[in-house]
Symmetry: C2
Subunit: 437 residues, 2 copies
């Protein structure tokens, strides 16, 4: 099976856990059998591999997520990077060209596209295989997954099938309705459109060429910014006559808001947290080192991270975005392919950061125009290079780097350092990269 | 007017703002006219001075609070330090001996004792002067303030006066009652006992000598631990026949729990915080650098500090103590006479602390057996002494101190440093102090 996972943008709807650089799909919220936690993207990748160990998985995403994907899934996962943000059709067109020209997949083979963020069981992945097999048959150009509605949701588009059979041709599509209208659709046998579909690669390449003139993947990548912002549903699905839908009635939860996310959490508290017996329907997700105490609350989600603290009635948690957008705040922590960082102190003319480098990784060789830096190693071993001079460093060693000096560090083991940045105008933009001789 | 303010123990009932080293009376929660904030102790001290600029103020407290008191009130405030924790009668006896023997107050003069933590207006301090004048008259040995009850509280003891006059002799005392019994007391004209009273100094010195044999203040201080733990009400007030009560009907709020504390807050948010319109009765007190967002909550207090995060229904906020006691946590921040510290990162074998020294202050000259330390100066100027060698330090300078070396720093301006502690067993007990030659 060839799967394209669409890994969407940086969402603030799960603030303070998600931010401009960490999308919700990278938050480790789901308990594995061994007691550790995995993220949505780790979970879905593991589930695909459990169902089909030979599956070709390609993640279509933005440049900003590449580090996090490699960090969480390892270096081998196939990633198709969008050079800039367009809509779903350009993303799928680019991924299709990537599959054909970079991964050399036979254009007659079926491909399944699905978003990375629903919370599902393994039966969902069995359903994807069925979708793939159905596309392979060639009865239709496009085979959609239709999710059997559990309530008259206003959040999804609906698919009206010709019949109530497991696989049926599509009669019509319906936009996100009001609750009353959704109820009518469901009476008519409509299914939720979860954005999951399968097709033969040749078909999608054809659609891509119809809508945009390009030579191959490299050419499309180079000129990606010229493509119109157009959704896959509008550009392809709603115009296609030979289109089928296949029913899916298993577990399927959209993890878009705290409300739905907490429904999928197996335990009420992740991280340091405690609540009294008078609490009901309370979830605590705490990424800080200090405890959260909840007393006498009902249907409330509390989440704390280095970015901030959310305390929300679960129903109201869908409305946090405009408030979060109004916070003018720098990114306080991030996971990168090389490790992670966390801002631990902010002063007018200094910034103190805990930097963790994974073993075998290093920073870019770089310098800053307007700030000095001091590293104090707090764990691990490595090698620092300052203006071409390499030295071994370990716990307690201090490296001072005046503005202008070129520097990097290699982690021989996991390496943790406290980095103090000092200057009048500290900004992430003040960074020049160099090749290391 | 001579006033003794009783500044009580470290309370966890206002966690996470109060902790083992910071008592609730030092938390800056009350807005001054200039927009800055003051603590309970700063507010009460300012109010006393506004009513009587010549008042002699003595704060009776424990050793642990001396730094914070000097830090918030300046070096000139009179502090009578209890060598160890006893009950209210020993504390008042010691304060009386201090007034007589250290401050040389005439034993015929009246003294007013009151707790440091009620939230009151200036009329309260006028009432204290009246209490003092009444004690001066000598009609009674002890004159209590009786607060006119606003509801049948179970939290206070009650005083039954002989008559409904403004000043009356006391008929009887009643212990903290149930709500129904409180209602009966109030029908009988009973008043709340807020622990405020006045007496002539000679009277209290006599009571002290009756109950404990001592020569003078120095002797009492030296043998303070031998005194019985006995409350002032039990030892003196309830046994006194010549005792009056004076009514007070002004604003008086006990700041013991989050519920009552938030009633006294003039605005719903202190620090970085935001709430949507669906919130009602919500208070946010945030001492962190990152924002708190509250959505759709009712009658909830949210407080965040480097110690942790509390989210509590206001009614339930009186019950936090056992939960807070169960958190095994080091003190994450503290204010000292010399400045403040805040732990910004905790690792297994390192601790990173932001240290702020006030201008003109220094640390003790000290060493550590089992840890190395590194300072990086992030603001200000000063002088570091390491093993007897002094050097000037400023922004960007690094001082490394291996285990065993003696060190201190003098702040010539306000001085801020990031201190990295490194070792197998980092503990506050690992500290040897030395005289600096």
């Amino acid at each position: 099976m060839h799967i394209v996972l669409l890994s969407g943008g940086s969402g603030k709807r799960l603030w303070p856990l998600s931010n401009d650089v960490r999308s919700k799909q990278f938050i480790k919220l789901f308990r594995r059998e061994d007691g550790s936690y995995e993220s949505m993207v780790q979970r879905v990748y593991r589930q695909i591999m459990a169902v089909d160990a030979d599956a070709t998985v390609t993640i279509a995403t933005s440049k900003a997520q590449v580090s996090a994907l490699h960090n969480q899934l390892g270096g081998d996962v196939g990633i198709c990077v969008e050079p800039c943000r367009r809509d779903t059709f350009p993303a799928i067109a680019l991924a299709s060209a990537y599959l054909a020209d970079v991964r050399h997949i036979d254009p007659e083979e079926p491909v399944v596209v699905c978003p990375v963020d629903p919370y599902v069981g393994e039966d969902y992945f069995e359903a994807l295989r069925e979708l793939s097999r159905q596309a392979d048959k060639g009865e239709a150009n496009l085979v959609l997954m239709g999710i059997e509605p559990t309530y008259p949701s206003e959040k999804y588009g609906y698919i009206l099938p010709e019949s109530a059979e497991h696989t049926a041709f599509v009669k019509a599509f319906r936009e996100k309705p009001t609750e009353d209208v959704a109820r009518e659709y469901i009476e008519q046998g409509a299914l939720w459109n979860g954005g999951v579909f399968a097709f033969k690669l040749r078909y999608m390449l054809g659609k891509a060429h119809e809508l945009f003139d390009f030579a191959d993947y490299q050419d499309l990548f180079a000129r990606y910014g010229e493509m119109a912002k157009i959704s896959f549903d509008y550009a392809v699905a709603e115009k296609e006559k030979k289109i089928q839908v296949q029913r899916f009635s298993g577990e399927w939860k959209d993890m878009g808001t705290w409300n739905t996310l907490t429904e999928a959490m197996e335990e009420p508290v992740i991280g340091k947290g405690m609540m009294n017996k008078e609490c009901s329907g309370v979830h605590i997700v705490n990424e800080m080192d200090v405890p959260v105490l909840a007393m006498g609350l009902h249907d409330v989600v509390i989440s704390a991270s280095p970015e901030g603290i959310l305390v929300s009635d679960k129903g109201q948690s869908s409305y946090i975005k405009p408030f979060v957008d109004s916070f003018e705040q720098q990114v306080m922590f991030a996971e990168k392919s090389w490790g992670s960082f966390k801002i631990v102190d902010v002063e007018e003319r200094s910034l103190t950061i805990k930097v963790t480098l994974n073993a075998g990784h290093s920073m870019n060789y770089h310098s800053h125009k307007s700030r000095d830096e001091v590293w104090t190693v707090i764990a691990g071993e490595g090698r620092a290079v300052v203006d071409g001079q390499q030295r071994r460093i370990g716990v307690g060693d201090v490296v001072t780097m005046p503005a202008g000096c070129r520097h990097t560090v290699f982690a021989d083991t996991e390496l943790k350092m406290i980095e103090v940045q000092l200057g009048e105008d500290i900004t992430v933009r003040d960074k020049q990269k160099f090749e290391l001789d």
